[in-house]
């Protein structure tokens, strides 16, 4: 008798500016799943927040969905009030001959593959924890802490991890305005008199969305004005001269924290301009370049760059492992570093708890290489173990918390 396959629901899309990249990440993960053990279940959250399932979701060319495609997908909801002994399931109401009929689609584990807000930020994870639904990757604390760049840096400060100084600017209340006279002195105190150019970035949003270089006070005003349309806070950091970036992925395997290959993204890809990227493909504008983006995997990058010294290599690995441990992370996370190519100085920049394509290309090139299928299996197994441990003992009898008498 063959054991029944576990059903792995991979949730992607989402109400986030990184919606499109997330579709690629989700589909890649589904494709990588070990078919002998798992059965993938695509679960797509459209930009309006409606959840869908159906095999057509696997077809990349159908995004964004036409009304015709949509008619062949199943709109679903996730019931949250399921008993912890019950199997998690999606629900859909379908028109039958005798009125509406509810169908249920069971699954065993959910894998969040949504980047950015409403998915990578701990909100989805908290929801799943609350409902007792097993899921993969970071728990709410780690996901929320790494989504907030200010909190991440403040937490890591305590562990001797090199970080750039930053100034946090909060969005002014409606009807009030930022005065640069209040910000500039703070910047001077932290960055010195010769502080420009600086990097201005949203406090919470993921990826490169809203990240801007400001070369003077006017540029700073403009950058903050744009960021406060999307986010409630902004970080100002010095712009590292002769900037190169290094990224590394970290995860836990067999109880050990392990690190992947190090990549150097080429030609400043971290400053990818989302605006032009989206506009170029938006409806009605001429598409001269129709090559579909392959997400993070298709960016130009150099793996295991030769110029890294042993000291730099071990600094990156140890800082990344320490951050993974301190922030109580799980799944595969990608940790990004900034480096001054001339002086060799390194700073930890940010932590992505759900990196694009789950950083599988970094694991493929690791010292002990992992295929995407190995990686997905590790993520799934860890998720099951973590969620099982969380369920623990919740009976009121434990710890004498019983108030209402039972027969």
């Amino acid at each position: 008798m063959t054991k029944e396959k576990l059903i792995i629901a991979v949730i992607f899309g989402g109400r986030s500016v990184e919606h499109d990249v997330s579709i690629l990440t989700g589909l890649q993960f589904l494709d990588a799943l070990d078919q002998s053990r798992y059965q993938g279940l695509p679960l797509y959250v459209d930009p309006d927040g409606q959840w869908w399932t159906g095999d057509l979701l696997l077809k990349r060319s159908l995004y964004p969905h036409s009304a015709e495609t949509r008619a062949r997908l199943t709109p679903v909801t996730l019931p949250l009030g399921t008993s912890i002994r019950g199997r998690p399931h999606l629900m859909s109401s379908q028109k039958g001959l005798l009125g509406n009929k509810i169908i249920t689609i069971p699954f065993d584990l959910m894998v969040p593959a949504i980047h950015g807000s409403n998915g990578e930020d701990g909100s989805l994870q908290g929801l799943l924890s609350f409902a007792g639904i097993p899921y993969a990757g970071c728990r709410p604390l780690g996901a929320a802490a790494t989504m907030d760049k200010h909190v991440t840096k403040e937490a890591l400060k305590t562990r001797n991890i090199p970080l750039l100084p930053h100034i946090l600017v909060e969005k002014p209340a409606a009807g009030t305005f930022l005065s640069r006279d209040a910000i500039l002195p703070q910047m001077e105190a932290k960055l010195g008199a010769d502080m420009f150019p600086v990097i201005v970035k949203p406090r919470h949003l993921g990826s490169s969305v809203g990240v801007t270089i400001a070369r003077d006070a006017d540029g700073l005003d403009a950058a903050l004005s744009s960021i406060f349309r999307m986010d409630t806070g902004a970080l100002i950091e010095p712009l590292v001269p002769d900037l190169v970036e290094y990224n590394i992925a970290v995860m836990r395997k067999n109880g050990q924290v392990i690190t992947s290959a190090i990549e150097k993204p080429l030609n400043g890809s971290d400053m990818l301009d989302f605006n032009t990227k989206y506009r170029a493909g938006s409806k009605g504008t001429p598409k001269l370049d129709e090559a579909p983006s392959d997400g993070m995997a298709s960016l130009n990058r150099e793996l295991n760059p030769a110029e890294l010294s042993e000291g730099q290599d071990s600094l990156i690995r140890s800082a990344a492992s320490t951050a993974f441990d301190l922030l109580d992370l799980a799944g595969t996370v990608r940790i990004d570093f900034l480096c001054n190519a001339k002086t060799g100085e390194l700073w930890l920049n940010e932590v992505n708890s759900i990196p694009g394509s789950f950083s599988y290309f970094l694991w493929q090139a690791a010292q002990d290489p992992l295929t995407f299928t190995d990686l997905s299996r590790t993520i799934v197994e860890e998720g099951i173990a973590l969620s099982r441990a969380e369920k623990g003992e919740t009976g009121t009898a434990t710890g004498n918390a019983r108030i209402f008498g039972r027969d």
Binding site: A174, L178, D221, A222, L224, S225, G284, K287, L288
Partner: protein
């Protein structure tokens, strides 16, 4: 001669049922276009002829296949069977075409109560007419059911759009009652939520000014603006009912002048505390006959604003001076923007740069300021100034305004610059006047990369009347100075443009002729190189609107 045995009765019933489904689906499909034309019969009829909206496939199927078999059916009953089959296949195909057009729509049909009422009446008309045809054919000129079905299908397919218009006209009293209720609801909601209302009007520039102002104000507080070019009473009512939320602090309302009194009426619906008048020109000349009438109609906004103790921003450079002077001397509260030294906000210089418009302004209470916005076309300078003056009068510091302007969004298809890799596209598809065309040509020089070519793709302007030859001659001469490759679609329509271009062009420049927009588009796809800048003048870069294919 009627064949009354069983299979034909079955065929008749099946045809009738399918005919009903066809009438329903086709009515729905037409309703979608009718709705997009805002239930305006004139616009809908124009759509029908301009976009090949009338039924061809189903009617031809019914006529040719059915008719042929019917003609031959005397004595050959199996040919009549073929006729029925043809009708049924034609109907199925017609249903498929209608459903396809409904499913593939970019702007799908919204089944509002009004749409439901029209569709129901449409089906009633269809059923009545079908009944009449059957009755007429049977009793008037006794012949087979096949003939009646055939006629009914053709008539239904052809009459479907007219039934919709008829239904709409018949339902007008109902709609008027519904409208009155909506209007009252919107008025009450505005009173309850009490957002700060800003009215914008003008012969041109009002839509751009509105979107710039909305962008500036939304960086300070939640702001709602009427979308696109919604500027009528019902349009504004709908925005208020559906989109206005308690958190909106500012509500920017574009107000269209459709005759004397119309803006005053809009101001009673949404009483503005601040007004912006962008220009008084000849755009609506046919409706008003005299520039004084246009002026008075637009200035109904200023009157309404003054009544509530507010101020109106006016663009002095685009308003006839003798008319404005009188108003200004009346002591009404105005803020003037323009080039004149009396203006509260003065334009010192405006330049077009590869990154957008840069302007130097001097304000009575802000000193000298340099503003920059990623918008193209020097006409934007006045729109930016009007929006700046409006935001400043609401208490927004000039630093905050300048910061917000640096990310102002472009308007779609109006000198919209889109960079696609190393190719720059200037999408001026919605432009329809020669001065806009000229701005586009000048922009080619500014946006061209060092080794790139300046490419123009255009069918020329339309509706220039008696100035057609003259204006196109001027544009051809201008294009010769700014264009390396001109792709002219339907060149025989604009011979003066072609001749002027050929005569004045430098030796390296060339003019290519195309019969269809699509062919010119394909040429671009095959030949565009990095560094090129391509101007789409008065046509859409992609084929937007396919005929529905009925």
């Amino acid at each position: 001669m009627t064949t009354a045995f069983f299979p034909y009765s079955a065929a008749l019933i099946l045809t009738a049922l399918l005919g009903l489904v066809f009438a329903h689906q086709r009515g729905k499909a037409y309703l979608m276009y009718f709705q997009q034309e805002e239930y305006d019969a004139k616009r809908f009829r124009h759509w029908l002829s301009a976009h090949h909206g009338r039924d061809r496939a189903t009617s031809i199927f019914a006529l040719v296949a059915g008719g042929l078999c019917f003609g031959l059916s005397y004595g050959f009953f199996w040919l009549e069977a073929l006729g029925w089959a043809a009708l049924i296949i034609g109907l199925l195909d017609g249903i498929r075409r209608s459903r396809r057009s409904l499913l593939q729509a970019k702007k799908p049909l919204v089944m509002t109560d009004r749409a439901k009422r029209i569709l129901q009446l449409h089906i009633l008309f269809s059923a009545l007419l079908t009944g009449l045809i059957y009755a007429g054919v049977r009793f008037g000129a006794p012949t087979s059911d096949l003939a009646a079905s055939l006629i009914a299908i053709v008539v239904l397919a052809q009459a479907s759009p007219y039934f919709l218009m008829l239904a709409n006209a018949a339902l007008q009293p109902v709609e008027n009652r519904v409208k009155a209720r909506f209007l009252e609801e919107a008025r009450q909601k505005l009173r309850r939520l009490d957002p700060y209302i800003i009215g914008i009007t003008g012969s041109y520039g009002k839509t751009s000014t509105k979107s710039i102002l909305a962008h500036i104000l939304s960086s300070a507080a939640p702001t709602l603006a009427t979308p696109g070019s919604v500027n009528t009473e019902m349009g504004i009512t709908r925005v208020v009912r559906e989109q206005l939320e308690p958190e909106h602090r500012y509500f920017i309302v574009e107000m269209g002048a459709y005759g004397p009194g119309s803006i005053a009426r809009l101001c009673r619906l949404a009483p503005p505390k601040l007004g912006v008048i962008t220009a008084i020109g000849w755009a609506h000349y046919e409706r008003f006959k005299q520039i004084e009438t246009v002026f008075d109609a637009k200035f109904e906004l200023a009157d309404a604003v003054a009544q509530s103790g507010g101020t109106t921003i006016v663009n002095q450079d685009a308003i006839p001076g003798h008319l404005l002077k009188k108003r200004l001397s009346d002591g009404m509260p105005f803020i003037c923007v323009g080039s004149d030294k009396d203006c509260t906000l003065r334009l010192v210089s405006a330049d077009q740069t590869p990154d957008g418009v840069r302007l130097e302004i001097v304000g009575d209470d802000m000193g000298e300021v340099v503003l920059h916005a990623p918008l193209y076309g020097l006409h934007q300078a006045h729109n930016i100034m009007a929006a700046t003056a409006a935001a400043h009068s609401l208490g927004m510091p000039i630093d905050a305004i300048r910061a917000a302007l640096s990310s102002a969004p472009q308007s779609r298809h109006r000198l919209e610059v889109v960079r696609s890799g190393d190719i720059t596209i200037i999408d001026d598809a919605y432009n329809s006047n020669p001065s806009g065309f000229a701005s586009g040509l000048e922009l080619l020089d500014i946006l061209k990369a060092k080794d790139g070519r300046r490419i123009l793709i255009t069918p020329g302007m339309v509706e220039l009347g008696e100035k057609h030859e003259e204006e196109h001659h001027k544009l051809g001469e201008l294009a010769a100075r700014h264009v390396d490759i001109a792709l002219v679609v339907t060149p025989e329509r604009i011979p003066s443009f072609v001749a002027a271009f050929e005569a004045q062009k430098p030796s390296h420049a060339q003019l290519l002729r195309f019969n269809r927009q699509e062919d010119a588009q394909n040429w671009i796809k095959a030949h565009a190189q990095n560094g090129d800048v391509i101007l789409y003048e008065n046509n859409l870069p992609d084929l937007y609107e396919k005929p529905p294919g009925f």
